[in-house]
């Protein structure tokens, strides 16, 4: 009896995968553990290993094709056996599959601006807790609709089959199903800077688009900024790196970002209220600091996670960050290395950006945005005009979880650690 191998779900958020490369051909004999293909998910390129030994009877999808999770990709059976039909093999889906009906979701979970000083925010129905019948959920999955985006007509607001049916048959307003109507700009006459084209996007870009849109429209962001005297940090970094370089072959080099990561973990220990998540009707506090940081790639970015950063030394963090950056650039990060963060640090200092505010990496309560250290005139404690080494740090906070005051306390703690960096070493 031949078995059909489906596109596996290789990460929590994966809804489609791209068959980057087939390692096998039809007719080839495969054993348990053989690598059948490479699959690009929204997060990484992963190897798909064989779980059914036998002969490859049929390959249903060519390399390069993007398929939804669960779509048949090949059939394995006995040599000479007829390949089974790929029952209802879904056609290669346009990128739309990965895009839930976000505009409506905004209506469901968007929070009215809360008074800045008040700690009370109206409790929201958590999107992940939308009540839906099992049948409605299954229908929505088939129709690539997000049940959380639908309004339920069943008892207690439960989303039932008829609601999904109505949404699926409704025009694009409730279920964006085609390319968005982008206003057409007149084409370049003669020499443009690039071709006029619709460039298909991969899984990672889809994930970035989906998650950041969701965050920006469902999380009530607020922004704080602090300027740090980076001179002591620069001096310490220079002296540490100089000494570390002398240790020889296994020398590590500490980056500014390593110090920021360490200082963030330490500042979270001092102000743990920021190390938390909005959980619908409660705030979930996290005992450990799992620190995520942005790594820019040619075609997007990923956010690997340093686990238990609160318990790690500056050196541990530097070594681990370096390893994760290497893996990220070769797209070898596993989904578990990219999930479960409690706080995120992004840094555009190396590009000379002086200050910015990132979009919160849900379900974190805040994201830290680090700018470049620049020389500029400052007034010192003795009211003298001197040359300062200044770094601007921005914090975007989820106002459902943290308020201005505790976010400010966090920045205060962070500033102190960065300005007296020796504190990080103890």
């Amino acid at each position: 009896m031949a078995e059909i191998i489906d596109m596996p779900k290789l990460s929590d958020t994966m809804s489609v995968g791209t068959l980057v490369k087939w390692n096998i051909k039809e007719g080839q004999v495969v054993a348990f553990g053989d690598i059948l293909a490479e699959v690009e998910t929204d997060k990484a390129t992963m190897e798909l290993s064989c779980t059914v030994p036998g002969t490859i009877l049929k390959i249903f999808a060519p390399a390069g094709q993007q398929l939804p999770v669960g779509a048949p990709i090949c059939a394995i059976g006995k040599k000479g056996e007829a390949a089974p039909e790929a029952a209802a093999a879904p056609a290669p889906k346009a990128p739309k599959t990965a895009v839930p009906a976000i505009p409506e979701k905004a209506e469901v979970s968007c929070v009215p601006a809360a008074p800045a000083s008040s700690g009370s925010v109206t409790p929201q129905s958590d999107a992940s807790r939308t009540k839906a019948s099992p049948y409605a959920k299954r229908m929505a999955e088939k129709a690539a609709l997000n049940v959380a985006a639908l309004s339920g007509s069943g008892p207690g607001g439960r989303v039932v089959g008829r609601d999904v049916a109505a949404a699926a048959s409704a025009p694009a307003a409730s279920a964006p199903s085609g390319p968005l109507n982008v206003a057409v700009a007149p084409p370049a006459d003669g020499k443009g800077i690039q071709p006029d084209a619709d460039v298909p996007v991969g899984g990672m870009r889809q994930t970035i688009a989906r998650r950041l849109l969701e965050s920006k429209i469902t999380v009530p962001h607020f922004y704080l900024e602090v300027e740090v005297d980076a001179a002591p940090l620069m001096a310490m970094r220079e002296s540490l790196n100089k000494r570390l370089a002398e240790t020889g072959a296994d020398a590590i080099k500490l980056s500014v970002n390593d110090f920021i990561l360490k200082a963030s973990a330490e500042a979270l220990r001092r102000v743990p209220a920021v190390n938390a998540s909005w959980a619908g009707t409660s705030i979930r506090t996290h005992g450990a600091v799992h620190l995520s940081f942005g790594v820019a790639l040619e075609d997007g970015l990923v956010t690997p996670v340093i686990r238990d950063a609160h318990a790690k030394t500056l050196k541990d963090i530097a070594i681990e960050a370096k390893a994760l950056i290497g893996k990220a650039r070769s797209k070898k990060l596993t989904p578990s290395e990219m999930s479960g963060s409690t706080f995120t640090v992004t840094n555009l200092g190396m590009f000379g950006v002086t200050g910015f505010f990132g979009i919160i990496n849900v379900p974190n309560a805040a994201i830290l945005s680090v700018g470049a250290t620049i020389k500029k005139p400052v007034v010192d404690a003795q009211d003298r005009l001197v040359i300062g080494h200044r770094m601007v740090i921005g914090l975007s906070g989820d106002h459902r979880v943290v308020d201005g005051a505790n976010a400010a306390q966090f920045l205060q703690a962070l500033k102190q650690l960065l300005e007296e960096p020796a504190l990080m070493l103890i």
């Binding site: 099992p134 049948y135 299954r138 069943g154 039932v160």
Partner: protein, 325 residues
């Protein structure tokens, strides 16, 4: 096709099987000379004589034991209980001996006994005469239980029961005895373990057995006429073996289920059916499964209160609308 009553259909089944197989005998209280307490066996003594149609003493444990012993030796007894409520005094014979002998003899001894009789409430005969023990009996592996709702099924199921080599318990209903329906003249059986879709619909599945099927069909009419709802009614016919696939196929179509039975709700047949549906068709469900059964109390003697206790058309309609919300 002749239109005959449920009672006549049962009698015809026994008559045909008595003729077909000389090992078939009828035994029970008043089945012979009195023509049956409910006249189901009327005329059989005259036609088949006292060797085949045997009156027994008022001793259920004794005569059911007699029938079980005879069945082990090749006789195919059809035992009448005046009420299934009286089976409780013969429980050891019915459950322990009949239900286990094939297993405990390593398959060497069969027990092809049929026990039949009315098992229903709703006739103002009090708590001790109104039991519906199909769930209790069906919970024992080795025992088969059927609950016909129509004359056609009554005849077909009883004939299948008589021909089956295991103990089969046929639960009839005194309120249905006079119900009429079309029954073929030619020989037929209704196989054990095959449910029947009594009404085709698309919006809601009602699963029922016995007289609850009739109640549900009436409710389905009202739901269609007054509420524009298309209801499918699945008649289990056989409680054990249970036709899981027909139930699941219907739920996969309608995505909503209401279970109706005249049993008391606690550990009723529909508790098992509800478990089945949620376990094997969870992703098909668009609403929680609801049940309508007799109100959980000893059978009430006061007629007007008993009518309220039993699943009525009104209660089925009301509960169906809740499932459809």
């Amino acid at each position: 096709m002749a239109v005959i009553s449920y009672r006549e259909a049962l009698r015809a089944a026994m008559r045909e099987e008595l003729k077909r197989d000389d090992k078939v005998v009828i035994m029970g209280e008043e089945v012979a000379q009195f023509n049956g307490a409910y006249k189901v066996t009327e005329g059989l003594l005259k036609e088949f004589g006292p060797k085949r149609i045997v009156d027994t003493p008022i001793s259920e444990a004794g005569f059911i034991g007699l029938g079980i012993g005879a069945s082990m030796l090749g006789i195919r007894p059809v035992m009448e209980l005046m009420f299934w409520s009286f089976s409780y005094v013969a429980f050891d014979q019915i459950v322990n001996n009949a239900g286990n002998i094939r297993y405990m003899s390593g398959g060497l001894i069969n027990c092809p006994i049929v026990i039949r009789g009315p098992a229903n409430g709703g006739t103002n005969v009090g708590a001790t005469h109104s039991h519906t023990p199909e769930a209790i009996l069906a919970s024992h592996p080795g025992i088969k239980v059927v609950c016909p709702a129509t004359p056609y099924d009554a005849k077909g199921l009883l004939k299948a029961a008589i021909r089956d080599n295991d103990p089969v318990y046929v639960m009839e209903n005194t309120i249905l005895y006079n119900d009429k329906g079309e029954v073929p003249d030619e020989d037929y059986i209704v196989p054990l373990g095959v449910a029947d879709v009594k009404r085709i619909g698309t919006d809601l599945t009602i699963v029922a057995h016995g007289r609850a099927v009739i109640t549900s069909l009436k409710a389905a009419e009202i739901l269609e006429k007054e509420h524009g709802v298309s209801v499918e009614v699945v008649d289990l016919r056989s409680i054990r073996p249970l036709d899981e696939e027909t139930i699941l196929a219907s739920v996969r179509k309608t995505h909503r289920a209401l279970l109706v039975e005249e049993n008391k709700p606690f550990c009723g047949v529909d508790a098992q059916v509800a478990y089945l549906i949620q376990s094997k068709a969870f992703d098909e469900l668009d609403a929680p499964i609801h049940r309508v059964s007799s109100i959980d109390a000893p059978q009430i003697y006061c007629k007007r209160m008993e009518d309220q206790q039993m699943p009525s058309v009104d209660r089925v309609v009301a509960e169906a609308l809740k499932v459809l919300a």
